[in-house]
């Protein structure tokens, strides 16, 4: 049985709803576009000025918050020596990237110290979580009310190829299959649009994927440095991972659809599933994730190939606006218009 079309397969609509739908088709969704523009503007503006951020950056020399003083906003330390003296209060989160930080007062937010030297004195009270790397000392009387995570920072060899992670590959494949099946079940047109973009316009999708990845990752790093945008950074990263997973699912669907139509597979179980997009999508998604998991372990070229395919997957999602509109190559569109 074929999956139902999006929108529940309703044949008739009330006239006003039909008018609105037609207007949306003509003009796009204005509120959504306006909201997107506002959100982007807000993100950009928040990253612009100290006054908006409320962040104190210490780059060098000495910075002391004395007894009874209050350090408003976030504190970022990239160099020098900072002392939060007994009786002082720091409102926002504290990020230590370099230099020395001694906390002997009250910190209301989280403390994150992947770099530099962090020391908690006997009068230190941290109301939030604390994460620290190698240069961490803690007095027995220091109090951390949240969770303490030690060993932050990139462990040695983290960039080396991961070995023995076949369970991870299998889980990844199963998750991609489930995601592909869900898209095929509840949004088949969107999945089809993304699959078309990834399968038929691979170079374009890969090119846009390169841009999205580069701009997105650098923007995420920049946002993370502003501290207040760390949640937005995490959101961007999560959306990026989801987008790549969705792209893999779309690529898998394109692959399975092509195989089901191929003469070599005529009469086989794959061809028999041609009318069952949910199964096709699950099969294709599983295969693509599994193959990529294997390919990325091939020395020298494997990582590059897996990266290229993942970028194309990401690009296909971006090209179609998560499958919301079919991608039409500008050259094809112009020629079609002429014809």
């Amino acid at each position: 049985m074929a999956a139902p079309a999006e929108g529940g397969g309703r044949v008739s609509r009330p006239p006003d709803r039909a008018r609105r739908a037609a207007a949306r088709r003509r003009h796009g969704s204005a509120p959504r576009r306006a909201a997107l523009a506002l959100a982007l503007s807000a993100l950009l503006l928040v990253g612009c000025d100290d006054a908006l951020l409320g962040v104190t950056w210490v780059r060098g020399d000495q910075h002391v918050v004395v007894d009874g003083a209050r350090q408003a906003g976030a504190l970022l330390v990239t160099g020098g020596e900072v002392l939060l003296a007994p009786g002082s209060r720091t409102d926002g989160p504290v990020l230590l990237l370099g230099g020395e930080l001694t906390i002997d007062g009250l910190v209301m937010g989280d403390v994150l110290a992947p770099g530099g030297a962090l020391r908690l004195g006997p009068w230190a009270v941290v109301r939030g979580d604390l994460g620290a790397g190698a240069g961490f000392e803690r007095h027995p009387d220091a109090l951390v009310e949240g969770e303490v995570t030690l060993g932050l920072g990139l462990p040695a060899g983290a960039a080396a190829p991961r070995g023995g992670g076949w369970w991870r590959v299998l889980l990844q494949a199963l998750a991609t299959a489930a995601m592909a099946a869900a898209w095929a079940r509840w949004a088949p047109r969107r999945l089809g649009a993304m699959a078309d973009a990834a399968g038929r316009h691979f170079p374009v999708a890969a090119s846009l994927g390169v841009l999205v990845f580069l701009v997105g990752s650098i923007a995420a790093v920049i946002m993370a440095f502003t501290i207040v945008l760390i949640p937005a950074t995490l959101l961007v990263l999560a959306l990026g991972v989801l987008a790549v997973g969705t792209g893999w699912a779309a690529l898998g669907f394109a692959l399975a659809r092509a195989l089901a139509r191929a003469p070599a597979f005529a009469g086989g179980p794959l061809a028999a599933s041609a009318g069952r997009p949910v199964w096709l999508a699950a099969f294709g998604g599983f295969d693509v994730a599994l193959v990529l998991g294997v390919v990325e372990r091939v020395p020298w070229v494997g990582g590059g190939v897996a990266l290229l395919v993942s970028l194309a997957a990401l690009g296909a999602v971006a090209l179609t606006g998560l499958g919301g509109r079919p991608f039409v190559h500008a050259g094809d569109a112009r020629l079609a218009g002429e014809a």
């Binding site: 003509r26 503006l45 990239t78 374009v204 650098i218 112009r334 002429e338």
Partner: protein, 425 residues
């Protein structure tokens, strides 16, 4: 179907593929050399010539740069108008002969540049350079309608960009006038000889190229098909590229003058960082070439301007935090990518907005009025700010003050609801 076959360079009656491929190769080589000359020798070399060799103050050099921009733009537009009226856009041999004369003149200017010693000689040199550039720009850009089919213009532009930018960071990093003059003079002598051979020897290859503009696959630009509004599109692309060039140049000129930011990147003593930047330029050029053909120009320009905004925000953040040279944030790589993207657009879009009769004027307006004027005005402004002692962080903030509102305006224009025509993203 008719449209499809019209636009196909391999359609019946077309020249053999080898002829088309050779034409594309000549265009790519010529434009890459010309662009490398203009960006490296003229833009960076003139500053060195005026400040170090002649000993002028920064404000005087800034004035000379502005003079160069204005004269270049005026001459280019005049030559573009003349080309349209005299039918030069349809005459490949005349274009090749004019180009030969221009390159020969530029070779002479290059050879004498290190000998310029007084302010008067410097101004005369700048004026001659401006006239040569003004004549050269519309003539050389108009070669696209003879040599590069519309469907391959994105990739041809990618080739030009990749070659021009790949060699700049891989070179010695010494951007003073003497070594630049030596390097360019040798290459330009070879280029003059090649162009002269093409322009004055009657060969079947040149005859075949000379007829190609008559076919819509070459002669009618991508944005001129189907009764498109060419003037409105030309104006919007002109305005957007003016902003992009202005922002790029305003920021980069200060970066180049800030040793802290170039010592470990563009001018690194190590080969690795320079090779990485060169590779980023090449990859981005081909990404840009692919996307140029596939996306609408507004989406592409939004990516370019967005990337520049991010670059300058990154440098501002870097300067405030004292993180290093921007590498922590990956900014030099993004800068290389953004520059390659807009360069690809620049090399393809003017021909695609034109026919053989309008290519001269459109290229002149585009390259001279938009790119050159924006670049040199921003260069002059950057020099004035440097002379006034504006610190780096403040300089980048001022660049952001131009770039960010421009990007937001572009975003609003792109996201503004409009009737859909089923076109691409």
């Amino acid at each position: 179907m008719a449209a499809t076959s019209d636009a196909n360079p391999d359609a019946p009656g077309a020249a053999p593929r080898g002829v088309t491929a050779a034409g594309i190769a000549v265009f790519v080589a010529f434009m890459a050399a010309g662009y490398a000359y203009n960006v490296t020798f003229v833009q960076l070399g003139v500053t060195d010539l005026g400040r170090r060799l002649v000993g002028l103050e920064e404000t005087r050099v800034a004035g000379a740069m502005a003079l160069l921009a204005v004269v270049t733009a005026a001459v280019a537009v005049a030559v573009g108008l003349w080309m349209g009226r005299a039918g030069v856009g349809r005459d490949l041999v005349r274009k090749l002969r004019i180009a030969t004369a221009v390159v020969a003149g530029q070779t002479l200017l290059t050879v004498v540049a290190p000998s310029v010693a007084s302010e008067g000689a410097f101004l005369a040199w700048v004026l001659c350079t401006a006239v040569a550039l003004g004549v050269g720009v519309p003539v050389t850009f108009s070669l696209a309608v003879d040599l590069v089919p519309v469907r391959h213009r994105g990739l041809a532009a990618a080739g030009v960009t990749a070659i021009a930018y790949a060699f700049a960071p891989l070179g010695s990093g010494d951007w003073t006038i003497e070594p630049l003059a030596r390097t360019f003079a040798v290459g330009m002598l070879l280029g003059t000889a090649t162009l002269a051979a093409l322009a004055w020897r009657d060969t079947p290859l040149v005859r075949a190229w000379a007829r190609q503009h008559e076919r819509p696959a070459f002669g009618v630009g991508r944005y001129r098909r189907g009764g498109a509004d060419a003037r409105g599109r030309l104006l919007s692309v002109l305005a957007l590229l003016f902003v992009v060039f202005f922002v790029d140049s305003l920021g980069f000129l200060r970066l180049v003058d800030t040793p802290f930011y170039v010592a470990e990147t563009w001018r690194s003593a190590e080969w690795g960082p320079r090779a990485t930047i060169a590779a980023a330029h090449v990859v981005a050029a081909f990404v840009g070439g692919t996307l140029y053909a596939a996306l609408g120009e507004r989406a592409l320009l939004a990516w370019v301007l967005g990337a520049f905004v991010l670059v300058h925000l990154g440098y501002q953040l870097d300067a405030r935090l004292g993180l290093g040279d921007g590498s922590v944030l990956g900014i030099p790589i993004l800068y290389a990518v953004a520059v390659s993207l807009y360069t690809v657009v620049t090399f393809a879009v003017w021909a695609d907005l034109s026919t053989p009769d309008t290519i001269g004027l459109h290229a002149a307006l585009g390259v001279a009025a938009s790119a050159w004027t924006a670049t040199f005005l921003s260069t002059a402004l950057a020099l004035r700010w440097a002379a006034a002692g504006v610190p780096f962080e403040r300089h980048v903030a001022l660049v952001n003050a131009v770039a960010l509102p421009a990007f937001l305006v572009l975003l609003v224009i792109i996201l503004w609801p409009r009737p859909r025509k089923g076109a691409a993203a």
